[in-house]
Point group: C2
Chain length 335, copies 2
């Protein structure tokens, strides 16, 4: 069934009917000029928003509506994780081409609500529109946290250790695999990498623990790529950083499928993008506490380098010394 058959209010009803019960804190959800919700008294509001544009951020021949629904919230959850906050309320706006089927929308909403439910996030509002060519998704996620526990990009200090959760580069390689295979993986390794690209897991429990225990002094989610995001930490903290090539965590499927010469594998991982892992700085005296804690993390944790004094920039080095970083450039939507 095409969207034109149910109309705009039909589309909104299809979203609304999936939302029950209202979670605590939602006083008035969808269905008014604005939503009304409560934060726990004494906490700060933590807000983030992400745009996903068909043909720029996703390709409908590789991803299912269901995974796209999950990912459109997951990338926002990842930002809230990087602040060490609690996600609470989401607003979802969709600009949808006429030819889109109602089934596509239903699957998208199911994916979105699956992940929002898993993290106790309430969908409280949004907007819908037609779109002449492409699907546009805009999600705003509101979270909360106590001011003293929230972690910005700006607190890294020279001498801190730099850590990253999980492995890097899987998503970039997964996207390349999806393009090459037209969305149909031909091996378990290919399927693993595509899953990493299409269905990222936000590191929310890890982010909250790191923030709540005062372990991370500066934190960011790796969305633009390790190099680019580490530079954000350095700029905001007015520090430099060294990353050791040998330490960069690479998954087994990544190592077996990366098509560059083996000794350049790490370049893909450093450039990466859409990893949605957490990158953070920790005082060296907390290394033991962190290690104990992270033993229970399925995603794993790796120390990849050190925070250096300003004005050193970001240096990537191997055993021989700094490597040539000409290949390094974050993803720029307009370049």
């Amino acid at each position: 069934m095409e969207l034109r058959e149910i109309g705009e209010f039909g589309l909104i009803d299809r979203i609304k009917k999936n939302i029950f019960p209202l979670l605590p804190g939602v006083i008035r959800g969808m269905g008014d000029d604005a939503a009304i919700s409560s934060l726990t008294s004494g906490t700060e509001l933590v807000s983030t928003t992400d745009l996903l544009v068909e043909g720029v951020h996703f390709n409908l021949s590789f991803t299912s509506a269901h995974l796209l629904g999950r990912k459109s919230l997951a990338v926002n959850l990842s930002d809230i994780a990087a602040m060490g906050a609690n996600p609470r309320f989401a607003l979802l706006s969709l600009a949808v081409p006429m030819k889109t089927t109602v089934e596509f929308i239903d699957d998208f909403i199911r994916g979105f609500l699956e992940i929002s439910g898993a993290y106790d996030v309430s969908l409280i509002g949004g907007d819908t529109s037609s779109s002449p060519e492409r699907l546009f998704i805009s999600v705003t996620l509101l979270g909360e946290g106590k001011k003293e526990n929230l972690v910005c990009r700006c607190g890294a200090q020279p001498g801190d250790d730099l850590y990253v959760t999980g492995t890097l580069g899987d998503s970039l390689l997964g996207m390349q695999v999806a393009q090459k295979r037209g969305g149909k993986p031909t091996s378990a390794d290919e399927a693993y990498l595509m899953e990493r690209h299409l269905n990222p897991i936000p590191r929310l429990p890890e982010g909250k623990t790191l923030a709540g225990r005062g372990l991370a002094r500066a934190m960011i989610d790796v969305s633009d790529g390790l190099y680019s995001d580490l530079r954000h930490i350095c700029e905001e903290s007015r520090v430099g950083a060294t990353v050791w090539v040998e330490r960069i965590p690479l998954s087994v499927p990544f190592q077996s499928l990366a098509t560059v010469p083996k000794e350049q594998n790490w370049q893909l991982a450093v450039k990466g993008g859409e990893d949605y892992e957490l990158l953070f700085a920790v005082a060296p005296e907390k290394a033991w506490e962190l290690k104990e804690l992270a033993r229970h993390w399925k995603c794993g944790l790796t120390c990849i380098g050190k925070v250096e004094p300003f004005p050193q920039g970001v240096t990537i080095r191997n055993e021989q010394g700094p490597v040539d970083d000409a290949f390094l450039k974050g993803y720029d939507h307009f370049a």
Copy 2:
């Protein structure tokens, strides 16, 4: 200068450099994974979001970037006004075609910040992306208000009077004029109507007063058109309504330029859309207090009808009785 010359981070910098000083409540604005902000303790969070799609909601040959920047926030302010809340924080996401000039973006941001500044709203975050064909704008506006003062669509009671601020139909006619004249008005009346379409004024002080004094029992902003939005109030309040054709407020420029037969002028106004006036229900015993208060409102105020018992729907009537409402249909993005 084209956007590709400054890149994505250049675009973000152009937005950030315009934002200072931080208003109270903004702990961390743009430049982190998420923004951190505070609400006045003891208030509720009021959230709304609106999408504006080039070719659907606006036409770049009629509107300037500056007015578009204003309007993209104004339509959200109008939703916050209809709740009787205080607007506080905005997130702005832009998906921008490559060929867009930096000057266009600068003008857009200037317009956006002009109106955000006028209402003490802080731009705290957002996202940017390229867009293959069209400009997409997504704005989320966060406000606050005390629970007992906020006004939903659901409190209207049979016997209440129905009021609307300002005049209706100007925006619809203004859009038609803009299309006909290619954006160049040829008279003061045409300029007035186009301004009403391109640069709507959110009724924030009016909405706050109506809510704060407990005058409005149900309220909505007229964005889909009077008939459509009155139906929303009726559905949410489980009431009916009667609107008197003769009472519908029409501006002088509207009356002189409407091209339908004079006796059908009101049809345009009832169907309308994008009026961004407030429609609300008030207990009859408060009529005097409201009238006194509204004497100071430049936009004016008109009683246009009555709330009726359920299950009567929305009836439009003139002196002879109910009129044929076949012409009535809210704007549906997918129909």
